[in-house]
């Protein structure tokens, strides 16, 4: 209703302006009045008619034509100052004038109209182009909706745009399980909006309704709004959403295929890996049970083998567990301020390394480390097992730690006397199932180091290996700050 009033108000404005212009022209022409130049004056009167039509549309043109028709009669055709006409020639002049004026105003306003339509088209094309440019780089429904909302807001000078998207068909992906809402607002301070939106536009994907766009327009923008243009906008938005959905499911398929491949690789090596210690345990136990003549030394040896193999199995199980958690992204860090020395002590106590000599250069005075105790313990167990596995018996394993980068990170080096690793393997030894030695020679499924890598990465640290002059070295750095801060310590 309000917009109808507005249209009427604008029409009155247009008519008034062209009437005024015509009256002004009458004033000027009145100065030139003489009996001989009536024909010229009637021609000059076409000028305000043309201007009126060009500036204020057909209403301006027609009203100007009517007014000049009357003023021509009243002021310029004898007898002056009456609307009566004595000469039939004058009547013809007047009628012709009116016809010409009407035709001119019609033609001009029509040309004007098609020009403004062309301009609107051009503007719409430009807006769509801009929208496309923005949407093309986006790949999540959230971002696409948000961009669509803010682009709509600017393009149509709306006060507020709200887009509601129903859950997409593929309800297995987390981001599309609930309805999404994007909101863009551009309100002047103190400006309030009606409770109900000005426009409701459905979002359709093919025959299916997938959402709704609610647009609040300011009174000024309301009259000139082009619903078709808004629909074109929303069509682009829906297309971008569909594109993102296709891309996401493609990526998921790829990830599934990859994890399938890993799982079958894992399964085959795990079953091999489980059988070896189980076979040892079974053999040892059955000979202990069955053969009563075994001497003490042999018994001890068998029992030690059983204990070692159960330790292997234990480590394998915790590695598999961490692996599946890292894979699933469900690893929750229980971060606390920990002491590296305490972790190292715990690990050495647990591992009971007797086959190698150990040198420990890890001070209890090192700054505290914001890490998950259990996970870093697992990293150290895996790295040390690797050293024990590859370094010759009774050789030296050194653990050395220091703070670096002005207390921003802690560096731990684990040096062993194992054989150097060819440079081309070095950067791959932390990859999943990457093994340098043939599988039969040394036990382990290449899982340990890749888990170390995964755990250190989720802590924001780095892990790498190097053939250094002092021996084959694992390097490990871990951040010493937690959310950018160091521990707040009381002064004792």
């Amino acid at each position: 209703m309000y917009s109808k009033l507005l249209v009427r108000y604008r029409a009155l404005n247009e008519i008034g302006a062209s009437v005024l212009l015509t009256l002004l022209a009458t004033l000027i022409l009145f100065a030139l009045r003489s009996e001989e130049n009536t024909a010229m004056i009637s021609q000059l009167y076409l000028l305000p008619v043309g201007i009126g039509a060009a500036r204020w549309g057909w209403r301006g043109g027609i009203s100007s034509a009517l007014v000049s028709f009357m003023t021509l009669n009243y002021f310029f055709l004898e007898p002056y100052y009456t609307f009566s006409i004595h000469r039939s020639q004058d009547l013809i002049t007047l009628v012709i004038f009116l016809a010409v004026a009407a035709a001119i105003s019609q033609l001009i306003s029509q040309a004007q109209r098609s020009q403004s339509v062309a301009e609107a088209h051009q503007q719409e094309t430009l807006r769509l182009y801009e929208l496309n440019n923005v949407l093309i780089g986006l790949n999540t429904p959230e971002k696409i909706l948000q961009a669509l909302a803010s682009q709509t807001l600017h393009a149509f000078e709306a006060g507020k745009v709200e887009i509601l998207l129903e859950p997409l068909e593929d309800s297995s992906s987390v981001s599309s399980q609930s309805a999404l809402i994007a909101l863009a607002e551009n309100l002047l301070p103190g400006q309030a909006l009606a409770a109900a939106p000005t426009l409701l536009v459905p979002l359709e994907s093919g025959p299916k309704l997938v959402g709704e766009v609610r647009i609040w327009l300011s009174p000024a923008a309301r009259a000139g709004v082009d619903q078709r243009a808004i629909q074109a906008f929303m069509l682009r938005g829906v297309m971008a959403l569909e594109r993102a959905q296709v891309a996401a499911s493609e990526q998921k398929t790829r990830a599934l295929a990859e994890s399938d491949r890993l799982k079958s690789a894992l399964l085959s090596s795990v079953s091999h890996e489980l059988r070896t210690p189980l076979a040892t345990i079974k053999a040892s136990v059955s000979s202990l049970l069955g053969d009563y003549d075994l001497d003490g030394a042999v018994q001890t040896e068998l029992l030690q083998a059983i204990e070692e193999e159960t330790d292997h199995l234990t480590q394998l199980v915790s590695n598999l567990l961490s692996m599946s958690r890292l894979e699933a992204g469900s690893l929750k860090l229980q971060k606390r301020w920990n002491s590296l020395r305490e972790i190292v002590d715990g690990v050495l106590q647990r591992m009971h390394i007797t086959t190698h000599r150990l040198a420990l250069d890890v001070s209890s005075d090192l700054p505290l480390l914001p890490v998950d105790y259990v996970l870093i313990e697992q990293v150290l167990v895996n790295l040390l097992s690797n050293c024990v596995k590859y370094a010759p018996e009774n050789s030296l394993i050194t653990l050395r730690a220091w703070a670096q980068d002005e207390l921003q990170a802690l560096h731990l080096g684990i040096i062993n006397q194992g054989p150097p690793v060819a440079e081309e393997h070095l950067e791959h030894i932390f990859d999943k199932f990457y093994r340098i030695t043939a599988a039969e020679k040394v036990s382990g499924i290449g899982l340990g180091l890749s888990i170390c890598n995964g755990i250190v990465e989720v802590h924001g640290g780095k892990i790498w290996a190097e053939n250094s002059p002092s021996g084959f070295t694992f390097h490990l750095t871990l951040p010493l700050t937690w959310q950018g801060e160091q521990p707040y310590l009381p002064s004792p």
């Binding site: 606390r336 209890s364 505290l368 259990v374 004792p492």
Partner: protein, 231 residues
């Protein structure tokens, strides 16, 4: 009169219960077995065991809950059995009054050692529950006088250091979680500030231990807390 210590094993896995029964009986313990929490609580009340071994994963109720209900009426030492990745449950059980924990799989020697420590300290606690003096030959802690002497020489501790040491010493032999110690010494609002505790423990070790890098009184329970040992 039977002098063999009586052990109650609450564990739902029959293989583990069987193994523990065989091994502990061979080590001259009397063994009672319960396969769920309710039976365990009933047996504990009826048989008055000297020590309880409690698995945290029970079919009928949470092991932490069993621990809490036992502590409502008995101070019998409780040793928790748990799997590796349930650190949080372990800490909860310790905070509910469990004395010690073992992570599966464990060596039997370690279990026996823990049982001995727990039995010895529960016997001591029974005889010296309100004694103002705690200590070994070398280290003496006078809770009433707030005095600590090492081989007869007084050791100067700050008020907080003494409060920390006194709490550890009163619970000698028990594993105390970081949170429990922090809540007791620094107040509940600081129970997550493990970094405070580390600084003070380090100070105490420097003042009390002969070799602070290899402490014999204040022992780390890696990732869990500390245990004070007097021997």
């Amino acid at each position: 009169m039977n002098t063999e210590p009586k052990i109650l094993v609450i564990d739902d896995e029959p293989q583990i219960a069987r193994a523990l029964r065989t091994i502990l009986q061979a080590r001259r313990f009397q063994v009672l077995v319960a396969h769920n929490g309710e039976t365990g609580l009933a047996l504990a009340a009826a048989q008055q065991p000297d020590i309880i071994i409690l698995d945290l994963g029970l079919p009928d109720m949470d092991g932490v809950e069993v621990c809490r209900r036992l502590r409502e009426w008995t101070q019998t030492p409780i040793i928790i059995l748990s799997v590796r990745d349930s650190e949080q449950d372990k800490v909860l059980a310790l905070n509910q009054g469990a004395d010690d924990y073992l992570t599966k799989p464990f060596g039997i020697e370690e279990l026996i050692a823990r049982l001995r420590v727990a039995l010895r300290h529960s016997a001591q606690a029974g005889s010296t529950a309100s004694a103002p003096l705690i200590g070994s030959e070398a280290l003496q802690i006078d809770l009433a006088q707030h005095r600590v002497t090492q081989n007869g020489v007084e050791v100067h501790l700050t008020a907080t250091e003494f409060k920390l040491l006194a709490y550890l010493a009163r619970n000698a032999g028990r594993v105390l979680s970081h949170q429990a110690i922090l809540a007791r010494v620094w107040g509940l609002e600081n129970s997550e500030r493990v970094e405070y505790l580390r600084v003070y423990i380090r100070q105490l070790r420097l003042k009390l231990e002969v070799d602070p890098e290899h402490p014999r009184y204040i022992i780390n329970e890696p990732g869990i807390g500390y245990r004070f040992l007097l021997d």
